[in-house]
C-alpha cells in the first residue's frame, strides 16, 4: 500500500489544526499590527477549562466546550484590557508589544501549571474514537470535526469582515487606524472585539488539540509558533493567507518527514519560515 494517501490525509488534518491557531493570530495582526504571542496561551486556557468541566465537574461536552471557548475569549479580553490597550494608547513600538505579549504568555502558562499541574491531560471522548477513511488515508472523527470547524470558522471570519458593519470597521482600522478614528469608528471597542474573536478561535483550537493529542501547560507556544509560521508564509494579516499558509506548512512538514526523520518536523517548519522571510517576506498572498 502506498503511503502517499495517508500523508495527504495527515497534511490536511495538520493544516486544519494550524488554520485554527493561525486565524486568530493573523486577525489580531491585521488590526493591531503586532505579533501577539499571548495568543498561544488563550488556546491553552480554552483546553484546560473544558478539561475541568468535563472531567472534574462531569459536565456534558455541550456545556464544557462552549464555556471553554468563552473563557478563552474572556482571558483574551482581560489581557487586551490590562496590557495591550494601555500600551497602544502610549503608542508603544511593536517590539514593546511583542515583549509584553511574551510576558503575558509566560504568566498565563505558569498560572495554568500551578492550577492544573504540568501533567499531560487528554480531553476524554464520550464514545470510543472512530476511524474514518478519508481520501484513501485513515483519520479520526475528532480530526474530521477539526477540519470542518477550521473551514467553517475561516469562512465565517471572511463573511464577518466583509459584510458586517463591525467587520468592515475592523478592516478599516487595519488599513489606517487614524483615519478610522476620524470617521467615527470606536477603535478601542473594535480592538477589544478583535482580541475576543481571536481568543475564541484560539479556544476552539486548544480544545481540538486537547481531544486530538492532549495538552500540557506549555502546549500553547509550539502550537502558536506553527500558527505564526502559517500566517506569515500565507501573508500575515490575510485570512485567506492564513488558511493557505497552514495547509502549505502542513504539506511541507508531512512530506518532509517522509524522507527525513519525524523529529525534524519543527526544524523543517522554521526552515520554511526563514526561506519565506528571505525570498518572499510578505508571504504567498502579499498585500
Amino acid at each position: 500500500m502506498s503511503i502517499v494517501p495517508q500523508l495527504v490525509a495527515n497534511s490536511i488534518i495538520a493544516g486544519a489544526m494550524y488554520t485554527l491557531i493561525a486565524l486568530g493570530f493573523t486577525l489580531t495582526f491585521a488590526t493591531a499590527k503586532f505579533f501577539n504571542l499571548a495568543h498561544g496561551a488563550f488556546a491553552t486556557v480554552g483546553g484546560y477549562i473544558t478539561y475541568s468541566l468535563l472531567v472534574q465537574a462531569g459536565l456534558s461536552p455541550w456545556i464544557a466546550i462552549p464555556v471553554g471557548i468563552v473563557a478563552a475569549g474572556a482571558v483574551a479580553f482581560i489581557v487586551h484590557h490590562t496590557v495591550f490597550a494601555p500600551l497602544r494608547k502610549r503608542h508603544s513600538s511593536n517590539m514593546v508589544l511583542l515583549v509584553a505579549s511574551l510576558g503575558a504568555y509566560t504568566v498565563l502558562q505558569a498560572v495554568i501549571a500551578m492550577i492544573w499541574t504540568s501533567e499531560f491531560k487528554s480531553l476524554p471522548l464520550k464514545t470510543a474514537e472512530r476511524s474514518i477513511e478519508f481520501l484513501g488515508g485513515i483519520i479520526t472523527r475528532t480530526q474530521l470535526f477539526a477540519l470542518i470547524a477550521a473551514l467553517l470558522i475561516a469562512a465565517a471570519l471572511i463573511i464577518f469582515l466583509k459584510f458586517t458593519r463591525a467587520g468592515r470597521a475592523i478592516t478599516a482600522i487595519g488599513d489606517d487606524e487614524e483615519v478610522a478614528r476620524v470617521v467615527g469608528i470606536n477603535t478601542n471597542r473594535m480592538m477589544a472585539l478583535v482580541f475576543v474573536i481571536g481568543g475564541v478561535v484560539a479556544g476552539v483550537s486548544g480544545i481540538f488539540t486537547g481531544y486530538d493529542t492532549g495538552i500540557e501547560p506549555g502546549v500553547g507556544m509550539p502550537l502558536l509558533l506553527k500558527g505564526v509560521i502559517a500566517a506569515i508564509i500565507g501573508g500575515v494579516g490575510n485570512i485567506y493567507g492564513a488558511v493557505l499558509g497552514a495547509f502549505l506548512l502542513a504539506v511541507v512538514e508531512n512530506f518532509g518527514i517522509w524522507k527525513i526523520a519525524a523529529e525534524w518536523k519543527d526544524a523543517i517548519a522554521f526552515g520554511l519560515l526563514i526561506l519565506f522571510l528571505l525570498f518572499r517576506p510578505r508571504g504567498i498572498l502579499q498585500k
Binding site: 503586532f34 505579533f35 496590557v83 494601555p86 500600551l87 508603544s92 513600538s93 511593536n94 517590539m95 514593546v96 508589544l97 511583542l98 515583549v99 509584553a100 511574551l102 510576558g103 503575558a104 504568555y105 509566560t106 504568566v107 498565563l108 502558562q109 505558569a110 498560572v111 501549571a113 500551578m114 499541574t117 504540568s118 507556544m221 509558533l225 505564526v228 506569515i232 526523520a261 523529529e263 525534524w264 519543527d266 526544524a267 522554521f270 526552515g271 519560515l273 526563514i274 522571510l277 528571505l278 517576506p281
Partner: protein, 288 residues
C-alpha cells in the same frame, strides 16, 4: 555556604550570557531570541571535547567559542536581512533548529540522554573541582565578559552600533557597512554565550538539550530587559535578581515545582510591568 556558592556560580553564568545578549539587543537594537542556541553550542562543544578527546578545558573552551562564533556568523548573515519583530521571529526559528539538532544528532550529542561525566576544568595541574574554586573561575569569566562588553560599548565601534539602533539608513549614507557591524556584534554576543556554556557544562558536569530551549532565550531576554537595555551593570543586576528570586521563593516554603512556576509567573509579570511603565528596564538607556 555550599548552597550560596551554587547560586552565585549560576548567577555568574547568566551574567556572562546577559552581557553578550545585551550587546546585541540593547546596544544594537537587534531583538535576538537565539542566545540559548550559542550557549548550547559552547556547552556541547566543551562537553564533547572533554569527554571524548580528554582535551584540556581551556583549549576546549576556545574551540567551543570558535564553533559558536562560526555558527553565529552564518546565522547572523541571514538574520541581518531582518528588522525588529521579524528579526525576533527568525532568530527564534534558528533557536528551534539548533535545539532540534541537539536533540536529534544522536551520534554527536547523544540526543535526549545528554552527555554525563564531564570533568571539571584543570589549569597547570590545578583542579577546579571544589565549588569555591569554580566560583572564582566564574567570577573571572564575568570580569572578562564585562571588560569585553565594556570595550565594545565604549569604542567607536560601540558608538556605530548605537547609531545602527537609532537610524541604520542614515549610518549607511555616511558610508558605514552596517552589515559588518551587525555581524561582528552578533558574533561577540555568541562567543560570550559559548563561554557561559563551557562553564555551565563543566559546572553541572552534564548537558542535555532541555537547557537550551527557546524558553531559555526568552528568560535571558527578561534578564537583560529587567536589568536595563544598553547598560552592562544592569545585565549583571538582572542576572543576579532573576537567579536569586526563585531561591528566595523556595526559602519562603513553596515546594520546588510551585516555586519554579512562581518564578515563571514573576518574570513574565515583570516583563509586562516593565513594558507598561519602564520599557528601558531598571537601569536601561534604551527603550525597545
Amino acid at each position: 555556604m555550599e548552597y550560596l556558592i551554587n547560586v552565585a556560580i549560576l548567577a555568574c553564568i547568566y551574567a556572562v550570557l546577559a552581557l553578550g545578549l545585551n550587546l546585541v539587543v540593547g546596544f544594537t537594537g537587534l531583538l535576538s531570541v537565539a542566545q540559548a542556541s550559542f550557549y548550547g553550542l559552547g556547552a556541547y562543544a566543551t562537553a564533547i571535547l572533554l569527554t571524548r578527546f580528554g582535551m584540556n578545558f581551556f583549549l576546549a573552551l576556545l574551540i567551543g567559542v570558535a564553533i559558536a562564533a562560526v555558527f553565529a556568523l552564518l546565522i547572523g548573515l541571514v538574520l541581518s536581512k531582518f528588522k525588529d519583530d521579524y528579526y525576533a521571529l527568525a532568530s527564534l526559528g534558528f533557536n528551534v533548529i539548533v535545539y532540534t539538532a541537539f536533540l536529534n544528532l544522536q551520534n554527536i550529542t547523544r540526543g535526549p540522554l545528554g552527555i554525563p561525566g564531564i570533568a571539571r576544568p584543570t589549569l597547570f595541574g590545578f583542579h577546579f573541582t571544589g565549588n569555591l574554586s569554580f566560583l572564582i573561575l566564574s567570577l573571572v569569566a564575568v570580569a572578562i565578559a564585562y571588560l569585553v562588553a565594556q570595550f565594545v560599548a565604549r569604542s567607536s565601534f560601540g558608538r556605530a552600533l548605537k547609531a545602527i539602533r537609532e537610524d541604520e539608513p542614515a549610518l549607511r549614507v555616511f558610508g558605514y557597512r552596517t552589515l559588518h557591524f551587525k555581524l561582528a556584534v552578533f558574533v561577540i554576543g555568541a562567543a560570550l554565550a559559548a563561554l557561559a556554556g563551557a562553564l555551565f557544562a563543566t559546572y553541572i558536569t552534564f548537558v542535555d538539550p532541555s537547557s537550551f530551549t527557546i524558553n531559555e532565550s526568552i528568560f535571558l531576554l527578561a534578564v537583560i530587559i529587567l536589568g536595563g537595555l544598553a547598560n552592562l551593570r544592569g545585565s549583571i543586576l538582572g542576572a543576579v535578581s532573576l537567579i536569586v528570586l526563585p531561591e528566595i521563593l523556595r526559602f519562603v516554603g513553596f515546594p520546588t515545582e510551585v516555586a519554579a512556576q512562581m518564578r515563571q509567573a514573576i518574570y513574565g509579570a515583570l516583563l509586562v510591568i516593565l513594558m507598561l511603565y519602564r520599557p528601558q528596564g531598571l537601569m536601561g538607556e534604551y527603550k525597545l
